[in-house]
């Protein structure tokens, strides 16, 4: 499990980040003393550092440079300073990414995953998924079951991928829309219904006419 060091002076954010990362399956390493951060980092050997720029009595920029001199751990700046000048400076000092507060939780997690993937040669999320008797090839956009295959559009693919990753659970329409927006598909409720009908039609063609159940008032379930 990747170890993530949290260098953040706001106690509420630090605590919540610790909880969040724990829930996401990382090992959080919150820092509470800001005087000897390079030494702490050397002791704890994190895989990733989340670094705030405005620290008490310290400047995150120089800290990043100091950290970068001693080891190759990737650094993500998480800061409320949001000018292009700050960002360029952070990245030129060896930062791997730059996120401005207030960030949304999915964005933060996605960027953490991306940086960890880059640094660990992890091939990234699988390009196939399997659930409920369905086999989905995310790269080709093809779903297959019982030896039959159907091609999906980008929207249908993301809807199905979201349902498959929560197989057995009820996924609300709002959660589905959220997941689609995460993938830069900006649809509304009506378009979701249209896509859902089409997706069900395609699944019926390959012999799974009731793979996706509607749970009235709650959402969909695969």
């Amino acid at each position: 499990m990747p170890r993530i060091m949290i260098i953040e002076d706001d106690p509420a954010i630090r605590e919540e980040l610790t909880l969040l990362l724990e829930n996401e399956g990382y090992i959080p390493l919150p820092v509470t003393g800001f005087d000897d951060i390079p030494e702490q980092a050397a002791r704890k050997r994190p895989d990733l550092i989340l670094l705030d720029i405005g620290l008490p009595g310290k400047d995150g920029f120089s800290l990043c440079a100091a950290l970068r001199r001693t080891f190759p751990t990737p650094v993500i700046f998480v800061t409320s300073r949001d000018t292009g000048v700050d960002e360029v400076r952070a990245l030129s000092l060896g930062g791997d990414d730059y996120i401005t507060k207030p960030y949304s939780v999915p964005v933060l997690l996605a960027r953490i995953r991306a940086v960890l993937r880059r640094s660990s040669d992890d091939p990234g999320p699988a390009d196939t998924a399997e659930a409920g008797g369905l086999h989905l090839n995310l790269r080709k956009g093809v779903v297959s079951a019982n030896g039959n295959t159907a091609e999906l559009t980008r929207n249908e693919l993301q809807i199905l991928a979201c349902l498959m990753s929560h197989a057995g659970q009820i996924v609300s329409r709002a959660d589905l829309i959220d997941a689609l927006w995460d993938n830069q598909i900006y649809i509304d409720d009506n378009t979701l219904s249209v896509n859902m009908t089409r997706l069900r039609g395609k699944l019926a063609e390959i012999g799974l006419s009731d793979a996706i159940r509607t749970r009235r008032g709650m959402g969909y379930q695969l």
Partner: protein
């Protein structure tokens, strides 16, 4: 200063001189001076008078021209009195001193006001950075809540962020050059970031967003462009109609690139269209819906003019609004 103005200004003095001369002539006549001698005397005095007045006129003209030139070349005109050579005569020198003292008091007041404004701007910026910490914490805490409450709270938090951001950019718009960084930016990245920033409002409004042709680059300041586009998206979502659709598209227009934000919302009444980017103008739509600050488009216009962006709004009431942002050709940006 024309000759006529000069003469009317000197009317009293010239009249007095003429009266004195007349009285002197009468006195001389009465005491037995020959009229011929008197005429000779007056003829000799006339050119002296005329010459004195002419010299005086020319000198005043030259002095005024000199002062005018100094004022025109000054960048900060209120420093005028510090830059002009003092006059020769005593009375004018005293006047000059008084004006200079008044000027110094004003220079002091101006620099105090400037310092106060700078301090205020710094305070606003610091405040904005500080308020972001609790908002971030609140967002993180929100994720423990159940779906609906979380969504509603996130929309409200996003509204706080939008207000905070406007305050920040309002403070920045005073000295834009301090925070500006021009570089090549992908239009798709600008759109994706602006959409992400205002996503809670857009999703809650049930908006469908269409993007087209955004795979091009422009040379601009990314943060500012994101802010401007974000304001346009906010407006499109706030003043939406039934089944709202917002389309964001880009197209090349000669060497320039146009970013077009089109919605099918309630539109802007024709007679208000020219004033929508005035500071504090809320319009009938803003008043009807409430919560309008009249700052969004004002800031857009201000920042756009600094970024050298064209901002053009077309609207048909009941049909929708189309805003076109024209990014300048890259080679035209050297002056910035």
């Amino acid at each position: 200063m024309t000759l006529r103005e000069f003469l009317s200004d000197r009317l009293g003095r010239i009249a007095l001189q003429l009266i004195c001369t007349g009285l002197a002539a009468l006195f001389l006549l009465a005491t037995g001076t020959q009229p011929g001698v008197l005429a000779l005397l007056l003829l000799a005095l006339l050119p002296v008078f005329v010459t004195v007045q002419a010299v005086s006129f020319l000198r005043q003209c030259a002095r005024l021209r000199e002062l005018e030139t100094i004022l025109n070349t000054l960048d900060r005109k209120y420093l005028f009195m510090e830059c002009v050579p003092p006059p020769g005569n005593l009375y004018e020198r005293r006047l000059f001193d008084l004006t200079r003292r008044a000027g110094r008091a004003m220079t002091g007041a101006v620099s105090d006001a400037k310092a106060a404004q700078r301090e205020y701007r710094e305070y606003v910026e610091r405040w904005v950075h500080e308020i972001k910490a609790p908002v971030t914490a609140a967002r993180l805490i929100c994720r423990d809540l159940n779906g609906n409450t979380r969504r509603k709270l996130i929309v409200e938090l996003a509204q706080i962020e939008a207000h905070v951001e406007r305050a920040l950019f309002y403070a920045r718009a005073e000295n834009p050059e301090q925070d500006c960084l021009f570089r090549q930016v992908n239009m798709g990245d600008i759109a994706a970031e602006a959409i992400e920033n205002h996503r809670p409002l857009l999703v809650q409004s049930g908006v469908r967003l269409e993007t087209d042709g955004l795979d091009c680059t422009v040379c601009t300041d990314e943060k500012w462009a994101v802010f401007i586009l974000g304001q346009l998206l906010q407006n499109a979502a706030r003043y939406r109609g039934a089944e709202p659709v917002i389309s964001i598209s880009a197209r090349a227009c000669g060497k320039q690139t146009q970013l077009i934000v089109q919605d099918n919302g309630i539109g802007i009444p024709a007679h208000e269209l020219s004033r929508v980017s005035d500071r504090g103008f809320t319009g009938s739509n803003g008043r009807a819906r409430g919560g309008s600050t009249g700052m969004g488009l004002y800031l857009c216009k201000k920042l756009a003019s600094f970024l050298d962006l064209g901002l053009h709004i077309v609207s048909q009431e009941g049909e929708g609004t189309t805003v076109t942002l024209t990014f300048p050709a890259k080679e035209n940006l050297t002056k910035l």
